[in-house]
Subunit: 668 residues, 2 copies
């Protein structure tokens, strides 16, 4: 028999076992995400051999701190231990679990079950020995007290009295402060946690093209025009105003209106074809204004409770200054020309992608992160990142961490509408929020499946959805063919299914629905390629409806998170119903949407009365916050009827406490 000389080096006497600590993303390779003030519930499977008692501690610290804070974990059945802490200021944190076999606790638990007087006498002596050891670990008053208790137990006496002494609660608390932790074990990974500010979880976004913000038809909009529009956007109840790229637009290979291959004289080009003689990613398009204008805009927005989000599109127009200054950052074809973006047979001659395999990648990474730093210095901490999945994943992981190290409040929204695994990877590696497939989820089944996955699936700890019914790239068929009811229902769905959502306006509130050609999801006369003028005062605008929905969102904490989402059964496939509630159940919102924009539908909604705390049989009120209407419901099944011509949705607040005769003074 071959056999090693001796057991392994670590102390083999460590008997506590810790398993399956969660939340945990990929074994701790990536961080769990929470927002400031949110409860972080940590669970772990902990046990030991035999019957001995364990103590288990949750440890937390800021990532750059050395000292841990500890919270005692409690057993919740089936060897699962739990404790929670409240997420602090934005930043990076670590948490971990430690456990040890606690001999005093074991002794105490056994003492409680001992019946034989001789056993109790013997146990008292053993307990005294444990307390003397505890005294040796303690200081000052505790040390003296522990020694005193030890003597009491060692002093003998009646079994019942000895037992009472040993089981004294004060003694238990005292001993618990001085455990023998020499054989404790720690979970091998100090799990990372990113705490973001609240806006990372809950916010309403509004996108507009600054160049279309002029109130006068035919004039190129400016940052000053955007400033003048802030009251409008804030009035609609939005939190973030997101601007497509505001940089100089390339002239070489510029695309024309409706994405024509060649621009005509006077065509303004695409804001995503970044860079020209006037500058690149750190410059402002002269037609939009100056750095001063931008600073004023940022400050004016903030004064209205709005934040400006910028678009980060890491790609260059052929005349971007970097193309000449840093040719090694781009790929070249055998003939020496720079390789434009392509996905054969499609070609994007107006766009040069960066070569993330460039030998000069370090300088390039620094320059790209420099762009982020530049705008952060200008007061922007929200970035909507264009097509992050076409740049290297390693770059984003590094750049986002670096920016957030200095500015933990920074928020990065990943504009990726790509394959699921890629979407998830971006979220794991650091993007704060992610665009979703919401635009293409229309039926009850699709919406239920997708938002159940988002709220409760494996991504729940790192993938924060931001749902958009439209974007400048996406005019869905639902909106093309559904008319006003579709715009309304898609808005309600986005705004209530997802704590973060956004619209691309004013196209949205003005119900722009004409595609470039049948079967296309591109807008006709897309703002991506030309300046548009919008009549915000049009009487059919949805602005008031949107404002109402955003108010409802703000006033109802249930809508500030997605974890409390539960879908409800309905007996009509065209009616989708779901409830959201705060963890304490104090705020409960019930949404019912008629998904058919063409016909009225009615049906029965089945509430989970137990989950909603409505199972005592009393009637309750559902208060439609959209219309103000109130309905008296009772029991789990209730009837709903929605005519899209009037209102395609109910957003009910549940009011459990109805007035009863006892509430009136004269009842007494």
């Amino acid at each position: 028999m071959s056999s090693r000389a001796s057991p392994p080096a670590p102390d083999g006497r460590v008997r506590a076992v810790i398993d399956a600590v969660r939340p945990c993303v990929d074994g701790g390779r990536f961080a769990v995400k929470r927002v400031r003030g949110e409860e972080v519930l940590v669970e772990a499977d902990c046990f030991t051999d035999g019957h001995d008692a364990l103590r288990v501690m949750l440890r937390t610290r800021a990532e750059d701190a050395t000292a841990w804070e500890e919270t005692e974990m409690r057993e919740a059945g089936n060897d699962r231990w739990c404790a929670s802490f409240v997420a602090g200021e934005p930043g990076r944190y670590r948490y971990n679990v430690v456990a040890w076999v606690d001999h005093f606790l074991t002794w105490r638990r056994e003492l409680a079950r001992r019946e034989d007087a001789q056993d109790i006498a013997s146990a008292a002596l053993a307990g005294a020995a444990l307390l003397r050891e505890a005294a040796a670990r303690a200081q000052d008053a505790d040390r003296a007290l522990l020694a005193e208790w030890a003597e009491k137990l060692a002093g003998g006496g009646e079994a019942a009295a000895l037992r009472d002494t040993g089981l004294d609660e004060d003694l238990a608390a005292l001993a618990a402060r001085h455990p023998d932790r020499s054989l404790e074990t720690a979970w091998p990974v100090e799990l990372p946690l990113v705490v973001d500010r609240e806006l990372a979880r809950f916010g309403a976004w509004y996108e507009l093209f600054p160049r279309s913000a002029s109130p006068e038809p035919g004039r190129h909009g400016t940052l000053a025009d955007v400033e003048a529009r802030l009251d409008y956007v804030a009035g609609l109840g939005f939190d973030v105003l997101y601007l497509p790229p505001i940089h100089p637009i390339g002239r070489e290979k510029r695309k024309g209106r409706n994405n024509a291959l060649a621009a005509q004289p006077g065509d303004d080009g695409s804001p995503w074809a970044i860079g020209a003689a006037e500058g690149g990613h750190e410059a402002i398009h002269p037609a939009l204004g100056t750095r001063e204008d931008f600073r004023r805009l940022v400050a004016a927005a903030r004064a209205r409770g709005l934040e400006i989000a910028l678009d980060i599109a890491f790609q260059c127009a052929p005349d971007h200054p970097w193309v000449k200054a840093h040719p090694s950052w781009f790929r070249h074809r055998p003939d020496g020309t720079v390789q434009y973006a392509e996905n054969p047979p499609k070609k994007y001659q107006d766009i040069y992608p960066f070569d993330f395999e460039s030998a000069d990648w370090r300088e390039m990474w620094m320059a790209l992160k420099g762009v982020l730093d530049f705008w952060v210095a200008e007061g922007v901490t929200i970035f909507r990142v264009d097509n992050p999945h076409t740049k290297s994943f390693a770059f984003w992981e590094w750049a986002i961490a670096e920016v957030k190290r200095a500015r933990p409040e920074a928020i990065f929204l990943a504009e990726a509408f790509t394959r699921p695994k890629v979407m998830h990877r971006l979220a794991k590696l650091g993007f704060t929020q992610s665009y979703t497939y919401f635009a293409w989820r229309n039926t009850r089944r699709e919406l239920t499946q997708y938002f159940t996955e988002l709220a409760h699936g494996p991504g729940r700890d790192y993938f924060r959805p931001n749902a958009w019914p439209n974007t400048p790239d996406i005019l869905t068929e639902a909106l093309q063919f559904g008319g006003r009811p579709a715009f309304m229902s898609r808005l309600v769905l986005a705004a209530t299914l997802s704590a973060s959502y956004g619209i691309y306006g004013p196209a949205f509130e003005l119900m722009e629905a004409e595609p470039r050609e049948p079967g296309s999801e591109e807008y006709l006369h897309s703002e991506k390629y030309e300046v548009r003028h919008w009549d915000l005062e049009r009487p059919d605008s949805l602005r008031h409806f949107i404002g109402r929905v955003n108010s409802i969102r703000r006033e109802n904490p249930a809508l500030h998170a997605d974890a409390g989402l539960r879908f409800l059964r309905t007996d009509n496939d065209q009616l989708i119903a779901y409830a959201k509630q705060t963890p304490d159940g104090a705020n409960q919102v019930l949404v019912v949407v008629n998904l058919d924009p063409h016909h009225a539908h009615s049906g029965w909604i089945e509430l989970d009365t137990e989950a909603l705390g409505l199972d005592d049989g009393s009637p309750y009120q559902v208060h439609d916050l959209l219309t103000g209407a109130r309905f008296l419901w009772h029991g789990p099944r209730n009837y709903v009827s929605l005519d899209p011509a009037r209102a395609p949705a109910h957003v009910f607040r549940l009011r459990r406490r109805l007035h009863r005769e006892q509430d009136f003074d004269y009842f007494l």
Copy 2:
């Protein structure tokens, strides 16, 4: 803005991403288990930014080898890549996944989609450059060939011809042999795999007490008596003969018959109270025989295709030689006496547990592993470990790995009937097989839930169930009250739901069903405390039925594994039905059991005809391997009727190919 001087040290140009490699137990902390010859399917999520092509390799090696073997992985949709290898000889292995962005493959894929002649000409030059680089990496003939192809592409010509050249399959194969892997990435963990011999997955166990093996009533059985019984056990179709401890039994504090606190003169004591003046864990009880007798038994068993499994119970009777020789291995009470096992108010005065927090733990571990080594040297490689969960987990992880390092064929069965997390931990840390909760799963719902979890749940890669309808400790109420039909149905369930199963005999085949007292699961006159005599020739013995079931198991590969288990719907709750099939579907077994031992039941079974390949509408035959009866079935729903008084179960083999007129000579 604070910002680090430069990007991180690793090469930022690595663009391939690997995620979620599986199978994987706790991120690679523990090994995945397979048996020799089994296919190991490895999957990984792999992708890169943008549209470039990836190549992904599965790497495998024996743990002590340095060189990897590589297998190309294929994309299976949704960015999931797959490859498999066949588990080799028993031992420890590692596997891993590597991926890189492959520029030639990208180039080729794009070329296939190129339409424009000028683009193709330009692409041909780029391809030539890639091939010249590949040539520089190649040797000899390949080098010359690659250079030739490069010149062909660089030579220009008609676009269509150039494209054909670039897309040549031979060229693709040649280039694939010489990729640029300078920027490859590897999954950070080299995942461990334990390959066991086939018996680890599939085997029938028979437990008997050697001291009860005498054919003469009243005489203490011997190892020679066991040897004489080998033909009986082998004749029943068992693979493993497991013996409770065969060591000297302590005399101090010996328990009497039926677990009486004090033994009476002549009482033989419990084999689990190990150790007396004659020796400890490496000695043989003199009444059973000698070391020579044992060696002869092991050899005689092997000659009959049987293997002897020993019981490993790491605990000592008070008169075990180690108690005096190594007092530091045990806990002591304040009065200096050794602490016996207890779980207050219960006391086990005849058992001293080891103190796994002993300061002398290293010596103790070596001694305990020495016991395993000792019996391995005597030809035993199967160990049924008694209550492993009352010994330290760290010890088992080390000891099992050490024994298996020298003898990879060793099998350890964990006798733990404790909490689920603890059961799973033991399986993860190295136990080959685990006892289960089968004894207490009786209803269709309970069995379906539990065996679905075992076959398909998260433990499927490391937790191998071994199902026992009875043990010397467990006489279930199902057996106490169900009579012969219950013994038959519980046997069929154990033997067909679980590829490994066992019975405690002859109590099982002789249908011993009397508990020590009502409500107890202890046998009256338990062999744990006294010698019994069994009449193997009793006409009502289930031996022939058991032999039939074991033959069916051997002849049907579908029953050699649990991964192919699928439960079927029945319209009668007392009928449980399930199918098992081999991965290739060549062997299909369908089991139907009447769970009610008192009444006949009939009902409709719903087969998953698609999964079973029966969905072409043709009739098929189900052949009851227990009775020989054959039934012609068709479609998914078929009728079954089972009278427990005759046979409580069908074990059907599905025979899809029925004779048709074409099969007869005269048809032609």
